[in-house]
């Protein structure tokens, strides 16, 4: 079989310069994928809550909490992938070759260096761009106020998603590679887990698990194996946070992909999204509607 992009493009060379048509088709499908990620997280969280309500055994309820975390992390990985890809020259290749280290770097970059990240990742126009477009000073002020609100929102969403990713990615990875996670009941209740329990205080939050990972270190002809332990919170408050933050990551992923898809389809390099137009003053809102109409015409 052969695959063809079935898209009518206004400016094919612009699309090609921005990573190609395959990337564009992928960006255009992001909203559906993000919707599925959000629903998947919500469904897993509902199962977790039902298990708590029904008094299911702690280890199996904790297992459902880990499922929530894993699904949330998949959404964060989607987001991290595009953050990384849009930093680089060949975003389509980068998106399909992302590694955990690159995603770590991308989240840190986006959160710590928003001045550099915003134009690349969010394609958000600055004052210079608006002036070059020939807009009047009054309109520029309105758009800059909208820009500021949008940036604040995106920064909050980025921090939330980045925090989720950086704090729980090792656990989520483990759930996908052999599940080396001990249920808290078997670690902290006698007879316990021997040396794996040693020195660990019981969780002050209630339900938990213990991630156990080992790494090999070659020294000459011998191999030393080092084992690391990390407690994982699986109480309702923590699992609710994983669910909430995962959904935020999915939403932000969809918004970034949409901004890039629009840019490629309509042929502009940067803009101010009208996502938050309903939150500005009535007079600003009215003028934004007029500007939007003028653009369409």
């Amino acid at each position: 079989m052969k695959a063809f992009a079935a898209l009518s493009l206004r400016n094919p060379s612009w699309v090609e310069r921005q990573g190609g048509v395959d990337l564009l088709t992928h960006l255009r499908g992001a909203a559906d994928r993000a919707e599925y990620r959000r629903t998947g997280i919500a469904r897993a969280f509902d199962r977790f809550l039902a298990a708590e309500r029904n008094g299911e055994p702690e280890p199996s309820t904790g297992g459902l909490g880990l499922l929530v975390m894993q699904r949330a992390l998949l959404a964060a990985e989607d987001l991290g992938g595009v953050l990384h890809a849009f930093r680089e020259k060949d975003p389509w290749t980068e998106l399909r070759a992302t590694t955990i280290d690159r995603i770590d770097e991308a989240f840190e970059w986006a959160v710590v260096q928003p001045v550099e990240a915003l134009p690349k990742v969010f394609l958000i126009a600055d004052r210079n761009t608006l002036e070059e477009e020939g807009l009047g000073e009054g309109d520029i002020e309105i758009l800059m106020r909208l820009r500021e609100r949008t940036i604040q929102r995106w920064n909050r969403m980025l921090e939330t998603s980045g925090s989720l990713w950086l704090s729980t990615r090792d656990v989520a990875k483990a759930t996908m590679h052999g599940f080396p996670i001990w249920a808290g009941d078997f670690v902290f209740t006698p007879p316990g887990a021997g040396q794996l329990s040693e020195g660990l205080p019981d969780s002050p939050y209630g339900r938990c698990a213990l991630l156990v990972t080992s790494t090999e270190h070659k020294t000459g002809s011998s191999t030393e194996v080092r084992t690391h332990r990390s407690p994982v919170r699986l109480d309702q408050e923590a699992v609710a946070r994983y669910a909430r933050e995962g959904k935020v990551a999915a939403r932000l992923y969809a918004e970034i992909c949409d901004a890039h898809a629009q840019s490629r389809m309509l042929g502009y390099a940067a803009g101010i999204p009208f996502l938050l137009a309903r939150n500005v003053s009535a007079s600003d809102r009215e003028r934004l509607a007029e500007l939007s109409q003028e653009r369409r015409e």
Binding site: M1, A3, F4, A44, R96, G178, P190, A193, L196
Partner: protein, 322 residues
Amino acid sequence: MCSLAPPPDEMPDLTRVILPSRAFFLSWLHQTVPARVAAIDDGEEHYGLLAGASSGVQDMAVAAVIGESIQPFEDLAYLATAWDEPYSGIATYVRATTWKRFTASNFWQEVRKWDDARLDVFAGFAGRNPDTQGVESLIETLPLLGVSIDERVLEAMQAARDATLQRLKSVLRGLGDDWKQFSPYQLAYKHGGLILNREDMAFTTDDAEELTASVARHEPSLAVWTRAGRKQPIQADFNLGQSELVRYVAESGRLVVALCEAFVRARIANIDALEFSPSGKLLGLKPMHLPWTVWLREGDLERSSWETLGAGPTIRWASDDR
């Protein structure tokens, strides 16, 4: 309540080996197996609710069922590799906590070529000597521990062992094919949601030069972008309808979860025989049930062997002799 036999003089270290392993196996049975089953059930149920949804959402749901169903394949690979190639001198479970990039792929490629000795270890009929890594059969080791087995039971155990190996060879080979077929979709689902957007793409036969109205189009049940650098950038399935694909892969996933459970049950028996006080002190040995037929289905073994073995023999310790 039965009386307890004293623990053997030589047994693995309680703190370093027995208790962490016990907690590992119990976590598998009571946390991981139910979580894996719930994930597959949920994915399949979610797909079933999306009849009127957009193709993008439906495709993602199919990919999710594959993702949830193929994860247990990784689990079994880690468990099997740990017991097949344990680290020397430390508890066997530690190997299962070591992430290596190709553990799952190597296992599923190679298991079809495993000889009987390795499958004996997989099934729990034998173990690796921690010093020599050689395979030691349980049936041959038990008499050395002073355990006498009735000849009739021994014959039934041998028949069950043969039937288990035969079944595992067949099942693992088929699952190896499933791994090869479905793991690209699982990777796409897990790493970035690289599901192809069929609204913007069209599939034609290889001889089509360009996409025109007259070119016949084909719809895959699912198509994904592969990792950069692969020979083919797209992996697509044209063999099954979406619902068939979902049903097939979910059944495969459930079978592998069942194998993971059997793998754990085949090993937890000797730890289950240990009795602890409420404070965690080792008190002694209870009778040990060997789940010798845990891998088998009714038709795999003759009725007479089932009647002799049932769920497996129980070893009762002659505590006075110890």
